[in-house]
């Protein structure tokens, strides 16, 4: 019922640690299946991926092109849907999510999992002090 993932801790050159709530997700695209560790971003309305990842998956880059806005400014995005699977131990869940595809090349962002659709599948709790994230499946959805 509950999947827990520890934050990934990364030591930088100056000695300080950055900790990120990231989880392994399988993305099933028309062209390719990719296993990617994505960052869970509760502040993002929708999930976001770099153009290069979307191209390998075979997602469409010419649908619903529109700007998206964040603290870092305005970016041009396309939109498509992709099936995802999240698995931990004996539990695994698959469903479709909408992804915004960042159209500019060579961006410095990871794959981000935002709230739309993904957060409707689980009760998600961030335990910042314990450095872990918990996903509890919500069963009243089809």
């Amino acid at each position: 019922m509950v999947m827990q993932f520890k934050y990934k801790s990364l030591k930088h050159l100056d000695g300080h640690f950055v900790k990120t709530p990231s989880i392994p997700i399988t993305f099933f695209g028309p062209s390719e299946t990719l296993q990617i560790i994505a960052v869970v971003d509760s502040g993002a309305d929708v999930s976001l991926m770099p153009r290069e990842v979307a191209e390998v998956l075979g997602l469409k880059l010419d649908q619903n092109i529109e700007p998206a806005f964040g603290i870092a400014g305005e970016v041009q995005t396309a939109e498509d849907h992709v099936r995802v699977k999240i698995q931990k131990g004996h539990e695994n869940y698959s469903f479709d999510i909408t992804v915004k595809i960042l159209l500019s090349k060579d961006t410095d962002i990871p794959v981000l999992i935002g709230r739309s659709e993904f957060f409707e599948e689980f009760e998600i709790t961030f335990y910042e002090v314990k450095e872990k994230i918990s996903l509890k499946k919500v069963h009243n959805r089809q």
Partner: protein, 64 residues
Amino acid sequence: MADNYSYYMKADLSQFIGEWIAICDEKIIAHDSNFKKTFEKAKELCPNKRPLLTKVRTEDTMIF
């Protein structure tokens, strides 16, 4: 995927900051700033298996 994920969680990735990495058979088999190059190299070195891919975040604070 579970073994590669366990490796990822324990690994010191500081030398790969800002790069994509590919993990297969519990080791990093490819890394590059370009995702496609990383993926293609990983497919070549780890055929018939599915590597675990991730971007090692930079030192910058991440805000979007």
